[in-house]
């Protein structure tokens, strides 16, 4: 008798669970679509994105679908076509997305420095003898890419602030030659090997060198800080969804092994911090100076994202 009752109760419980799940799925016909960008290893990012989607699904109590894009442009285009609700982007890509499709910043990534910002540097070899930026007059510099905040705009802005470069592109204005190497790694390796005299890339670019190589390079100058890479949301994603997502990710604690494994999959960051549009005010002006942001005033509102 006891056994029968137990089975009966268990069956009723199961039915309740099934109904709850069906209700939930019915109420959320559309899953939350998250675009993960792959920097180097799409297979690994795809594997990680599945685990992250499952994690978010559990925490948010709603279906989540993760997918991988190969660059920021694809993520933003997906968002423009309502194929992505959430995306991981760099600051320049975010500002373009905000201008074009009204995407809003949710969370900034926190790196090993403990802050949601990073700087770029002018890297030179220690044995180069260069002591200040003016020493690079008539030399060769490598940047990462034409449209890269840390790998071009911020370091170039440094030379502009010093009066060495104007806003417009002028051949041999200060440097003898300028190369866009195609990435931070190529630029800093080119400098390390002596192919170019300096590299204007992220402060973290030295981590792309082997430990013994890091001792051969030094920072000649740091740029102003930029807000870090971020998670942005498509215009129209409900406030409650964004709020829950923020709370889940802000709660991740790198000292907790389970949380750490999630953060490792989220590009190895240390955590997240809440993002404001005004965080981008400074870099928007820099990007506007190079014609890559049309309306920098959009980022001066000082408001939280919704």
């Amino acid at each position: 008798m006891l056994k029968n009752n137990t089975i009966h109760l268990w069956t009723r419980g199961l039915l309740l669970v099934v109904v709850s799940v069906l209700t939930c799925v019915k109420g959320q016909a559309e899953p939350l679509k998250v675009a993960f960008v792959s920097y180097a290893n799409p297979q690994q990012v795809a594997k990680d994105s599945d685990a992250l989607a499952q994690f978010l699904e559990t925490k948010l109590g709603m279906p989540v679908k993760g997918f991988v894009t190969l660059d920021y442009g694809s993520s933003i285009e997906a968002m423009r076509g309502d194929q992505a609700d959430i995306a991981f982007v760099g600051p320049l890509a975010f500002m373009r997305a905000h201008e074009q499709i009204g995407a809003m910043p949710l969370l900034l990534e926190v790196y090993s420095s403990g802050t949601p910002t990073y700087r770029s540097c002018i890297w030179v070899r220690k044995d180069s003898g260069f002591k200040e930026l003016s020493d690079l007059k008539g030399k060769i510099i490598a940047f990462a890419d034409q449209v890269d905040m840390s790998g071009h705009l911020l370091p170039r802005d440094l030379f502009r602030q010093e009066g060495f470069l104007s806003g417009n592109w002028v051949e041999k204005e200060f440097f003898d030659e300028v190369y866009f190497a195609g990435g931070d790694e190529q630029a800093i390796h080119g400098m390390l090997n002596g192919f170019v005299d300096a590299a204007g890339v992220s402060e973290y670019a030295s981590l792309l060198l082997r430990p013994e190589e890091r001792d051969a390079v030094k920072v000649l100058a740091y740029t102003r800080p930029s807000p870090s890479h971020l998670i942005m949301a498509r215009k129209g994603v409900p406030f409650e969804t964004k709020d829950r997502l923020k709370k889940v990710l802000l709660a991740l604690d790198p000292s907790n092994p389970e949380d750490k494994s999630i953060l490792d999959k989220l590009y190895g960051v240390q955590g997240f911090a809440e993002a404001r549009l005004s965080d981008f005010e400074g870099v928007a002006k820099v990007a506007a100076g190079f014609g890559l942001v049309k309306n920098p005033d959009l980022f001066a509102s000082g408001q939280f994202s919704e």
């Binding site: 090993s112 060769i140 890269d148 790998g151 190369y179 981590l207």
Partner: protein, 624 residues
């Protein structure tokens, strides 16, 4: 900083990730290393040739097949069994190696040229062209180290050429801004220079032998330095990182609470054990020490060098790579022995050829790893340090080596089998050689059937009996590391001697051996070791007053330069990278102490040692 966030992490335990290298360059560099060995590891070469063929096959199947056939014929000729009756004479090693290397160099050149031309063809599709260019540059890196060393002018010019080609591809911009069109002429100009360099140096009449070694020497370049030497480098696929978590090392005097600052000879030995400077080249350049293979005295199961290791945890120590003068011409890799309790385990060497530990250590320094004759005091120090290596405490053993009541029933049943005499083993038991009351060894050598002699009736098959204590944590097993687990060892004996043990008996005997080999807290419970390392470097320095009193400037110098190198190697383990200037300064102080020791400036040395100690004490809390 696209992609950088993914690599932001601190380093634990001086773990150096493998180089990010193109698979074709990887194959080429590894084969270059292996073809220079005597004997050549033809199995490794074959495996790499197959991998290169697979890569090429996806691009040009016919060329790949022709390459594979040609190289296979050479390898077959080199590895043929000599047969006088049939007139079979193997192709001499050096000739075969040179021919294979010529084919490989041409293949790599072809692949590099193919991708440059593809990038040029696709120049209007920037992403596709950039992908091809990255392939080409990745393959080019097969040659770049040799070019950098022997033709630095061309290395710079061509290195800049790769950057200029990437630059010439323009930019796709971001959402309609910042786009730059490709510059076809600029691309072609740089591509032409690189193509010309490859075709001139590495194609049809390429000559790979110079200075007695094979390498992609760019000898047709007008700026080639004929006297240049190549730097020492281990091949891709090597792993000399130590195990994480770190094994727990027990030093007898420390376990008994002795103040380490009062044991200077042991401190000198500890320093020497961690020092690359007691050896010759290439150990010094590669920054390898005793501790590389015997991490904290314990077998490093990760240690692998392609061509020198048959499996992780072992190496051929009588090859021409580390000490050409001691090459025996035979590929005979040995399992790295565990050094716990080493003072109880004479004789030494896997075949027990050295009666004393001192004699054994001297041979390692001078003949295995090309060091100068060591100062007798240095040897005294190393032996004093090694004599402190203790076995792990074992809660399952009584003092006479029998199992106590803590051991499992299965292990206790296994103990009976261990002590059973088998007629198949000449009425001996396992315990006959692994005597429980004598640290599970008999200090003798036996032929148990694990060694292939030089001919059928040769008498060269005996090996030293190893202890079983602390053995659970030191796989693989046997002198050649051929058995991955203690269970495999048990089954090998059962099979070889046809003991006819049943499955449960095999399990019981394995449980027994694992119990004997067990120990308390075999690994440390953290992945952060920097504070312990810094404490150890201070221990090294505690030998300073002793060495100064004995007027040993060379040993002082070795101590200072070893500490400086160790600090630089470990500084990237800092959890707070902002503390790095402190570690840089401490390394600089040791550099200055080294310089002063070479100049015989005792006052300067004293000052630098005092500075170092003060700085260490001031920063104890953050050096972690």
């Amino acid at each position: 900083m696209v992609g950088l966030v993914a690599v932001i992490s601190t380093i634990h335990g001086h773990i150096i990730p493998p180089e990010n290298i193109h698979p074709v360059a990887e194959v080429y560099q590894r084969t270059n290393f292996v073809l220079n060995l005597n004997p050549v590891g033809w199995d490794q070469v074959q495996s790499d040739v197959d991998a290169l063929t697979d890569y090429w096959n996806a691009i040009a199947a016919e060329s790949a097949a022709a390459f594979h056939k040609q190289v296979n014929e050479i390898i077959c000729a080199a590895t043929a069994e000599p047969n006088e009756k049939k007139g079979v004479e193997p192709l001499p090693r050096s000739a075969a190696a040179e021919q294979v290397f010529q084919h490989l160099t041409r293949a790599v050149s072809d692949l590099c040229l193919y991708h440059i031309e593809s990038a040029s063809r696709m120049i209007d599709d920037r992403e596709a062209a950039l992908k091809e260019l990255r392939e080409a540059e990745g393959i080019w890196n097969a040659f770049s180290l040799t070019i950098k060393s022997t033709d630095p002018e061309a290395h710079n010019r061509l290195g800049r050429g790769w950057l200029k080609m990437a630059n010439a591809l323009g930019s796709t911009g971001l959402l309609g801004v910042g786009a730059l069109p490709p510059d076809r002429d600029a691309f072609q100009q740089e591509a032409g220079i690189i193509i010309d360099y490859i075709e001139t140096n590495f194609r049809e009449d390429f000559s790979p032998m110079r200075h007695g070694s094979l390498a992609p020497w760019p000898s047709k370049s007008p700026t080639f330095n004929t006297h240049a030497k190549l730097p020492h480098k281990l091949p891709p696929g090597h792993n000399i990182n130590k195990q994480i978590p770190r094994p727990r090392q027990i030093l007898g005097m420390a376990a008994r609470g002795v103040d380490e600052s009062e044991t200077p000879l042991i401190a000198l030995g500890d320093m020497a054990f961690d020092s690359a400077y007691i050896y010759g080249e290439p150990m010094r350049s590669l920054e390898m020490s005793c501790n590389t293979c015997h991490n904290k005295s314990i077998t490093n199961p990760n240690f692998t060098i392609p061509g020198l290791s048959s499996r992780p945890g072992g190496m051929d120590v009588s090859s021409n790579f580390f000490a050409p003068h001691s090459n025996n011409g035979i590929f005979d890799p040995l399992d790295i022995p565990d050094l716990r309790g080493i003072r109880f385990t004479a004789p030494y060497g896997r075949n027990g050829r050295f009666g004393s530990l001192r004699e054994f250590v001297r041979n390692v320094i001078v003949n295995e790893f090309n060091g100068d004759e060591p100062d007798p005091m240095l040897l005294d120090g190393i032996i004093a340090y090694m004599n402190e290596f203790e076995f792990l405490s074992n809660p399952y053993l009584r003092k006479d080596g029998t199992l106590n009541e803590n051991a499992s029933k299965s292990a206790r049943r296994g103990e009976q089998i261990f002590n059973t005499q088998f007629t198949q083993m000449g009425n001996m038991s396992c315990a006959t050689c692994h005597i429980p009351s004598a640290n599970f060894i008999d200090h003798k050598r036996h032929d148990i059937g694990t060694v292939n002699g030089y001919e059928e009736y040769s008498m060269d098959r005996t090996m030293d009996t190893p202890t079983l204590l602390s053995s659970k944590f030191t796989p693989p097993y046997f002198h050649d590391g051929s058995q991955p687990t203690l269970g495999a060892v048990v089954r090998w004996f059962d099979n070889y001697y046809q003991l006819g043990l049943e499955e449960r008996q095999l399990e019981d005997l394995t449980a027994y051996v694992e119990t004997v080999g067990d120990g308390i807290e075999s690994y440390e419970d953290t992945v952060y070791y920097l504070d312990a390392e810094m404490e150890e470097f201070s221990f090294f320095l505690s030998a300073y007053e002793f060495l100064a009193g004995k007027n040993k400037p060379k040993l002082m110098g070795t101590t200072f330069e070893t500490i400086a190198l160790e600090i630089r190697n470990h500084k990237w383990e800092l959890q707070d990278l902002s503390v790095m200037p402190v570690m840089d300064k401490m390394a600089e102080i040791m550099d200055a102490a080294y310089t002063a020791s070479q100049a015989g400036d005792q006052a300067e040395i004293r000052q630098k040692v005092a500075e170092y100690r003060a700085m260490y004490n001031q920063n104890l809390d953050v050096l972690k």
